[in-house]
């Protein structure tokens, strides 16, 4: 049985797709057969970040509607033979996804794959709900600012109450925090929440801190998951995240300079 991971956040633009691409590639690089699914029907982006946009023939919705087989729709990554991408449809909207259809696709993928990464759309509506419904593990991507933190908190509430595991009274989804676009310098200046501030609100298992880095934008533009850029700090941070997720004991990096800053003090005494 595959392990189903949802990458979610509530808020848009925090780095869900970047994270999905990076961890899917990271897991595949470690030798685990991995599929990554774009749930953002109508706003397809994962194919761009993965650099396979010119090879899309069939998509997720085609498979759900029985217009194509899973084998036809899955795109094999050119850099890593353990990685497959299931793109979203650009011409449809989220209503094209049904719980039954998604369940069937995930079940079929589970037979063959070790990890299935679901790239959730922003929001808490249908697309996001279906992306997380079947999950075993959740990576909650959060930026160090108050609105992102609150949206993540809301998403965590939904994970705890509306997932399949919650509805069937099974063991709850494992929730992990991924703090992205983190800048220790701006934390020092009090312009950004610190790791501690975020943890104070969310109290989650911290899987990793991804530093703000130009390499993320470059990677997106060139269609290369940032984890493949081994020189970049963001790439290294994602490698650490994958290793920690797989149970390795890797010390946290890129948090340096953390302390209770002016902002922290102001924020607390508000």
């Amino acid at each position: 049985m595959a392990r189903i991971i949802v990458v979610t956040s509530g808020k848009g633009g925090v780095g869900k797709t970047t994270t999905s691409a990076a961890i899917a590639m990271g897991l595949a690089k470690k030798g685990h057969k991995t599929a990554v699914i774009d749930f953002d029907v109508g706003l397809r982006n994962l194919d761009l970040i993965m650099g396979c946009e010119r090879r899309v023939v069939y998509d997720f919705v085609n498979v759900i509607n029985g217009e194509a087989s899973l084998r036809q729709a899955l795109i094999k990554d050119k850099r890593c033979n353990q990685l497959y991408i299931l793109p979203a449809s650009q011409t449809r909207d989220k209503d094209a996804l049904t719980q039954e259809g998604v369940g069937k696709v995930l079940e079929e993928l589970s037979k063959d794959f070790k990890y299935i990464v679901c790239d959730s759309p922003a929001g808490i509506e249908r697309g996001a709900n279906l992306a997380m419904y079947f999950a075993d593990d959740a990576f909650v991507v959060t930026n160090p600012e108050v609105s992102s933190v609150r949206d993540s908190d809301r998403m965590l509430g939904i994970l705890a109450s509306k997932s399949r595991r919650a509805e069937h009274d099974e063991e709850p989804i494992n929730e992990y925090l991924l703090l992205s676009r983190y800048s220790p310098d701006r934390v020092k200046l009090g312009e950004m929440l610190s790791v501690e501030d975020v943890q104070d609100i969310l109290s989650l298992h911290l899987l990793g801190v991804i530093p703000e880095s130009k390499s993320v934008l470059n990677a997106s533009n060139s269609g290369t998951p940032v984890i493949l850029d081994e020189k970049s700090r963001a790439g290294q941070a994602y490698s650490d995240v994958v290793a920690r997720y797989l149970g390795e004991d890797v010390p946290h990096r890129f948090i340096n300079g953390e302390k209770k800053g002016l902002f922290g003090k102001l924020f607390r005494s508000k």
Partner: protein, 251 residues
Amino acid sequence: MSTDTEAPIYTKFAIEFKSSSFSVPVLVIQHTELKQIKHQLKEKIAQAPEFFKNSPLLIDLQNCNNTEQAFDLATLIEFLHTEKLFPIGISSGNEEQNKLALELHIPLHTIRNAHTESRPANQNLTPSPNEVVAEKTDNKASNTVENRLITHPIRSGQRIYAKGDLTVLSHVSAGAEIMAEGNIHVYGALRGKALAGVQGNTKSRIFCSALQAELVSIAGHYKISEELDTVDQHKPTQIFLQDQALIINNI
């Protein structure tokens, strides 16, 4: 109008079924030796005759049936009657014992045995009457007090309602709402809304480890975030109602 004049018309019902809870002493039989049981029971009754006089009793047979020796329940019940004790139920009896009990018009109960199993067998201490027989609440009765315990954080957008007291062993996020007909205890930061005594219980209180709430209310009397900064927001705090005013102070 055609009414049947024969049918008695009552404005009130003559009977009514209600569920209520009360505690009953449970007599836990540890082994099958009747002579010893009688002797010890007499001793205990002598220590607190008033407590035992005409007292109802539940007989718990689990431990003695575990010994797999035959136990003479009929004789025990007879003896209890002579001692002015009234068995009103047996628990964990075997098939034979259950049949006998029903013949004697004694109902069968199922009770959780967590307390009884862990009771020490030290009989030489002089316990208070309450400890002589393990006092337990009937299983059905314990369900009527619907306190709620939440061990995980309450997230933004979640709503929790408790018919009794509500205890949260973590924090309550901004944008979450917790409500209880009784008291609210939060062993973490309270950042959302907390409403205690929502059915009008003015005696209910809110306790939290840190008060950073958006709103607190007791029996409809509320204060919003702006009015809460009179106390240290990082210290344990309690909120209660006194003369129609919401009192907030650090504990």
